[in-house]
Every structure is written in structure tokens, then in C-alpha cells.
């Protein structure tokens, strides 16, 4: 990388970089040159040479050409048929979602007061309110970074609330999420996995009962699970947890809540999950937000590390004001005595998810859920017809993802996916390293964007590849 030469004139992003303005301002503050302003930085700390960076592309045209040149070496999911999921989903993103989160006022604001920035407070309050309806819970946080963080924080909250150090986690959890949870819960909490039934893919309540102790703060279950299976024994699981005075933490996919019963109604004390499916593009895994929801019990509310926006009156009747609820539980207010920490997370995505839910409305969410279930079932049935393919959890309920076992075909998932790739298809995620007990299995994702032709083509190509 070469260093560049002296530029001519002011840079478009730096109004005061022109020589005349600079000199006038230096004179105004009585400094002879810029160096004076850095007098506090001792010579031993100075870099003393220009940074070794590529020559700048100061014109917009050059910049665009360069970046587009790099991006040209990507193939997007719009150009191929993709069945990838595993926590990042290709749902349709309504145009209005992109419109709202491109608006400069939302995009370039940050941390103003609920006066000049009233709009984002109301938009986030509305997001939380809509999530509250989806989840049938009264308290929903301003989004945290992502669903992994939401799960990890929910478990720490449970530990603080119960005063107990350990958690029992459904064994079907994705290994990346488990890694995050293990790291985040260290050093003072322990994580133990509870086996899932090899026949159904669901958490085994008897195994849970056997693993339960008085040290358990929470049982953690996901529905649908990472493997795509809907838990049908939620009430039993809640009973086992509550009998031992532990809490139930349930991670759910909000795009499925039009058709699946919200976890609060089967006994969850804390609901959490990822909002990416609600109006966010995939962005190479770079768009996430995590929700944490509870009932309106101060013992729970006081354990949230995130901001919570509440509605409040102003001095004018009928006017809605907003502000932080119980702000002083956060690290902003009381530093390290606060709960965990809070920082810049995912507000714009929260606003976007709110827009999505408002556009979809109750009927849209129902149709979304039912439609995904139908398409997924169709895909499962078509694939199950192919010789050598087995669906390990065929008898269980799925909404948008399912595992496909290729072991009997004698081919590895890697080989099959490579062959599918040549045919313009992104095949399912290889599960063989995470879940060796499932052999050569892959996780396929079907959403509302897949047509019957897409699913027929998947089956046809799969059959061709395996022949």
C-alpha cells in the first residue's frame, strides 16, 4: 500500500480543511500552527510518519467504482436459490421498512432527549408495544445487539433473580450460540446441556427432570429449536422448572408467532430472541437485534441491563412524552453497579421491526406463519421421497427449518452442497460437526419467499445430485 501525495483544496467531508479557513481559525485562537494544539502529546508517542494506507479515492465516482468492483465478486441470494437459515433468514423485506430506516432523521440521530428526538422514543416504544402483543408480555427492552446476547443476558437475569448459579440448556441449541452463552456466563455461572429426544428433536422432559437441582436458576429452551423443531412439551418443561423454583427462559423466532403460541402462555418467565426476520436484510449476518421480554414484575424489570422506554405525561394534557424507566439500574447511571452493561446496540433495527409488524398486522403474521408451515411441509415431503434421504424429525412440527439426513446416501453434506452450488442452489447448513449424532445432516430453511417451483427444483436437483 502506497502513501498518497498532497491533496488540493478542501475535502467534501471537512468544511474547515481549506487553507484560508484554517489559518483564520488558528489566528482566532492565537495558535501559530496546528502542532501547538497537540502540545500535550509527547514526542515519544508521536507516530512521526504518515499512515501506510492506500491512495485515497477522493472523487465519489472512483470510490463507487472501487467498492462495486470488490462487491462484484459476491453472488447474492437474489441470484441463486438459497435454502440457508440457521439464525439468519431470507424473508421478504417490505419496501416501507427500507424507506423508514433510510430516513436521515432516524439514521443519523443518536442519543438526544425525548424532546428533539421524541420520534425515536415513540418509534421504539411502539416497537416494544407490538412485540409485547406478539409475545403477550408487558415489558420488552430497547433491542440489545442480537439474539445471542438476548439469550445470554436472559440467563444472567434469571441467575440474579433467583440467586442461583446454574442453567440447564436444551441440547439442540446451536453451537455458536452455546459458545457465546458459555463465554458470557463465565466465570460465576455453569451451563449444562439436557439431551433432546432423537426421535422428535424435542427437549426430553425426563432428562430435564433428572438434571434439575436446587442450584438451577433457569431452564433454557428454544421453539422452534435450532434444528427447526417446535417444542410441544412446553407446559411440562415449565412445570419442572417452576417446581424447583427455577425460571423458564424461552427463545423464540418472532416470525413464527402468528401461528405458534407465545411462550408466556406456556409458562415462560423470560422470552428472548432475534428480530432479524422482521424486516431486516441478511447483510452477510450483519443485521441483528435481540429482544428480551418479561411480565411487569419489578423483580424482573430491575434486572434488565438494557434501556426501557416508558410513556409518561407532559405538562400539556393529551400529549405523550417518553423517558427511561428505572434508568438507575443501568450502567449509564451507576457504572459497574449497574446490571451487566448497556451501550449502542440496534435501535434502528428495532424501529424497522416495528414498521414490519405494523405493515403485516395480525392477519399478515398469521398468514406468514401458516404459509411457511405449508411450504416447509411440502419441501420436507418432496425431499423425503428421494431415495437415501431421511428426515430425522419427520413426525414433529416445523415452521421454517428442518434437518435432512443424507447419511444413507453415502455422500457428505459438503459434497452435496458443492454439487448444488454448481447448479445455482445454496443448500442447507452442514450440521455434521455440531451434531455428529445426526450423521451427515443438513439444516434447510424455507420461508414465504420460496415458490412451489423453487421447492420442486430443489427436490429435482437434489435427486439429480444424489443419483
Amino acid at each position: 500500500m502506497a502513501s498518497d501525495e498532497e491533496p488540493v483544496g478542501a475535502h467534501p467531508y471537512i468544511p474547515n480543511s481549506g487553507r484560508a479557513v484554517r489559518e483564520a481559525m488558528l489566528e482566532a485562537i492565537g495558535a501559530s500552527d496546528i502542532e501547538e494544539l497537540y502540545a500535550d502529546i509527547p514526542p515519544s508517542l508521536r507516530l512521526g510518519r504518515p499512515l501506510d494506507l492506500p491512495a485515497p479515492l477522493r472523487s465519489e465516482a472512483e470510490l463507487v467504482r472501487h467498492v462495486e468492483g470488490l462487491l462484484a465478486r459476491n453472488t447474492s441470494t437474489r441470484e441463486v436459490l438459497s435454502f440457508l437459515g440457521a439464525g439468519c433468514y431470507a424473508h421478504h423485506v417490505p419496501a416501507v421498512c427500507d424507506e423508514v430506516n433510510s430516513r436521515a432523521e432516524f439514521l443519523t440521530a443518536y442519543a438526544g432527549e425525548p424532546y428533539e428526538d421524541h420520534g425515536r422514543f415513540q418509534a421504539l416504544f411502539e416497537y416494544a408495544s407490538m412485540m409485547g402483543e406478539l409475545l403477550e408480555m408487558d415489558v420488552v427492552n430497547v433491542p440489545t445487539y442480537d439474539g445471542f446476547q438476548a439469550s445470554a443476558t436472559s440467563l444472567r437475569m434469571a441467575s440474579r433473580i433467583t440467586g442461583r448459579p446454574s442453567v440447564l440448556v436444551a441440547g439442540s441449541i446451536g453451537r455458536d450460540k452455546l459458545s457465546k452463552i458459555r463465554d458470557y456466563l463465565a466465570p460465576d455461572m455453569t451451563v449444562e446441556l439436557v439431551r433432546f429426544s432423537p426421535a422428535t428433536g424435542e427437549l426430553d422432559p425426563e432428562a430435564l427432570r433428572a438434571a434439575m437441582t436446587q442450584d438451577v436458576a433457569a431452564v433454557y429452551v428454544e421453539s422452534p429449536s435450532y434444528l427447526g423443531v417446535v417444542e410441544t412439551r412446553g407446559e411440562d418443561i415449565a412445570g419442572i422448572a417452576h417446581d424447583a423454583r427455577a425460571l423458564l427462559v424461552a427463545a423464540v423466532d418472532p416470525s413464527t408467532l402468528g401461528v405458534l403460541r407465545p411462550p408466556a402462555e406456556w409458562g415462560a418467565d423470560i422470552a428472548c430472541g432475534e428480530i432479524q426476520p422482521l424486516g431486516l436484510h441478511q447483510h452477510f449476518g450483519g443485521a441483528n437485534g435481540g429482544f428480551i421480554a418479561t411480565h411487569d414484575d419489578p423483580r424482573f424489570v430491575m434486572e434488565y441491563p438494557s434501556r426501557l422506554f416508558g410513556i409518561t405525561p407532559t405538562t400539556v394534557e393529551g400529549e405523550y412524552g417518553f423517558g427511561d424507566v428505572a434508568y438507575e439500574r443501568t450502567s449509564f447511571a451507576i457504572r459497574e453497579e449497574g446490571k451487566e452493561w448497556v451501550g449502542t446496540a440496534a435501535a434502528l433495527w428495532g424501529i424497522t421491526a416495528g414498521v414490519y409488524l405494523a405493515l403485516m398486522g395480525p392477519q399478515g403474521m398469521v398468514e406468514l406463519g401458516e404459509g411457511m408451515m405449508a411450504r416447509t411441509r411440502y419441501a420436507m415431503d418432496r425431499l423425503a421421497e428421494i431415495p437415501g434421504i431421511r428426515l430425522p424429525f419427520a413426525g414433529s412440527h416445523h415452521v421454517k427449518e428442518f434437518a435432512v439426513d443424507l447419511t444413507a446416501t453415502g455422500r457428505t453434506v459438503a459434497e452435496v452442497d458443492a454439487a448444488l452450488l454448481k447448479r445455482g442452489i445454496f443448500g442447507g447448513k452442514d450440521l455434521s460437526a455440531e451434531f455428529p449424532e445426526l450423521g451427515q445432516s443438513a439444516l434447510f430453511c424455507v420461508t414465504e419467499v420460496h415458490t412451489k417451483d423453487d421447492l420442486d427444483r430443489l427436490a429435482t436437483e437434489m435427486e439429480a445430485v444424489l443419483r
Binding site: 428505572a326 438507575e328 451507576i334 459497574e336 453497579e337
Partner: protein
Amino acid sequence: MASPSGRPVRIGLVVNPIAGVGGRVGLKGSDGAEIVARALALGAVPESGARTVRALERLRSEAPAGSVELLAAPGPMGEEPARAAGLPARVVGEIAAGATTAEDTRRIARSMAEREAVDVLLFAGGDGTAADVLAAVGTSVPVIGIPTGVKIHSAAFAVTPEAAGKLAAMAARGARLRVAEAEVLDLDEDAYRRGSVAPRLIGYLRVPQERRLVQARKSPSPAGEALALEAIAADVVEGMEPGRGYILGPGTTVRAVAERLGVPKTLVGVDAVRDGALVVADASEDDLLGFVGDGPAAIVVTPIGGQGFIFGRGNQQIGPAVLRRVGREHVIVVATPWKLASLGGLPLRVDTGDPDIDRSLAGHLRVTTGYGDRAVCRVVA
């Protein structure tokens, strides 16, 4: 603190009419008839009446009609400012004609609290007046201070006269105001006049809390403060060793430690505990020497009086002899982050009366600010 629905809130008003009269003419305070006379001769105009009127005008404008029953001390001590502010008031108490005295303040305040059973006592003056109110009512009734004096160190005062009126109006509206203890400080007048500021803690008043209305650099809400105190107490108690005697100094932060142990605490005095039990309450220096004996001991103190003194202001019972026996390494200083922040970079201080002990305490020490949290602060003699 909210009144039961329907009944107006009964507010008592006691004004020190000459508080602060020395301030504008540079005389630093107004205790003592001689100072007052000098001030008035210098052309000083007592301002406390005007500032009281400002507070009462705010109360009138913000309190719903019929929600306030105002009881006022006679003449310039309440009746006149109330009239000037357009607030009807029932006059309580009697004063002799001419200059009013601190004894008048105390007598009438006590009568309002005991005989008239006011819900809130609104008083106007400075630290000296707060001390008089303290002597009269203690913690029997919540108080709101209208700042009119020069020496306003006590947290019993609102930040401005209007803020005091607003707080009183909130009480009248039935707002749920938390009430917290506020330090009442007083200066050695003569030392202050000579330019040396060293407030002395003399007790605590109960003051309604509303963010931004009450004196002191940005203080936390009662919820935040409570969380911090619990955390500090948990840390200290967890570290307590069996068989070691713990001397607990005055102040609300140290009281949190006592509460966690479940023992009573003398708020402005020193207590001694061992193995979770109270051994000596409100100890003198001799009591402490006896308590420590030759055995292991420790001292838990917090900075008192807004100037960062950990020894020498309000806890002189923990004298040099006691400190010599306990040892510097067993001094546990506790303080919330807000208290440390309010020092603004100035160090903690010690003034035990023994320069050698003072020097041995100087340097840096760790202050417990939360559970597992410490701050390293400089201590100077």
C-alpha cells in the same frame, strides 16, 4: 408523604428573617446580634423575606386550590411573607416585638410539629436555621428548606426558593415523594469568618427528594442511592472477620452496613460491633479504647460534611489513640461514587489532632464504592 385523599396538606412556615443578612456586605453569615447590627449599619437589606415570598408564590401557583392549609409563624417569621404571596395562613405561636431570635424559631417549629401536627415544615434560612429546626423537630416531620442564608451546606435546602415552593406544591398535590435523610451541617462561625471552611455534622433532617430540586451536585435518585448503599454494605459485611471488632462511624453510608448486620446505628455517633452483634452504642473515645482492647479491630468510616474529612469532623471519638491501636491497614473507608465525585478532584482529609497519626494516614487508600468495587483516593493531612 402524600396526604390522605380529600384533606388539605398542612404546611408549617417558619422564616428566619435576618438569615444571610451579612452575606452581601461580606460579613459571612448572621449569627449573633452584633453581626446583625453591623450588617444593617452597613446598609444590608434582609433578603430572606423576599426569597420566602418567591417560594410561596411558586407554591400558590402550582398547588391545586384548597390543597394547602398554611400555618405561619407570626410577623416577619411567616405571616408577612405569606400575605405578600397572596396565601391565606393561620398564625401559630407568639413572638415579642422587635428582633426575633433562634429560640423563637425553635419554639415555633416544635409547636408546629408537635401541637399542630403539620405534614411538612417549610423553613427559610441558612445552615444555622437548619440546625435550629433540627434541634426542634429532629426527624419527626419532613422539612423543606428555602435557601436564604449565606451558609448553605446542608442538603436540607432546595436549590432555589422556587424549587422549595415547587417541592411543597408537589407534596400538596399528593405526589409520592420519597423522603431521605439529609446531613445538617454547621460551621464554626469564627473560623469561617477567618476564611477557614470546615463544616461540622450535627445531625440529620428528613427531606423530600425530587431530582434536581434539592441541594447538592447531581445526586442520584433514592433508588440509585439505595442500590449503591446495599452494594457497599454487602461488600463490607462479607469481608468481616470473626472475632474482629468493627468501629462504625457516623453517616448514612455506614448505617447501611449496620442495617445489613441487623444492628441499630447511631446516625451521628459511633457504634461498635463484633461478630455481628452491637457491643457499644454511641461510644465515647474511652468506650472505643475499651472495646478495642488488645484485640484485632477495624474502623469503617465515610467522608462527612462535604469537605472530604474521614477523620476529624463529626467522629472525633475515633481519636488518635484508637487509630494507633487499630492500625491504618484496618481502616475501611466507604463512599458512594456520587460522594467521591462531589469532591471534584480534591483529596480526602484527616484531622485527628495528632500530626503523626495524620501523616500515617496520608497517601492513597482504597475506598469501597460498591460490591467488589474500589476507588483509589488521595488522603492528605
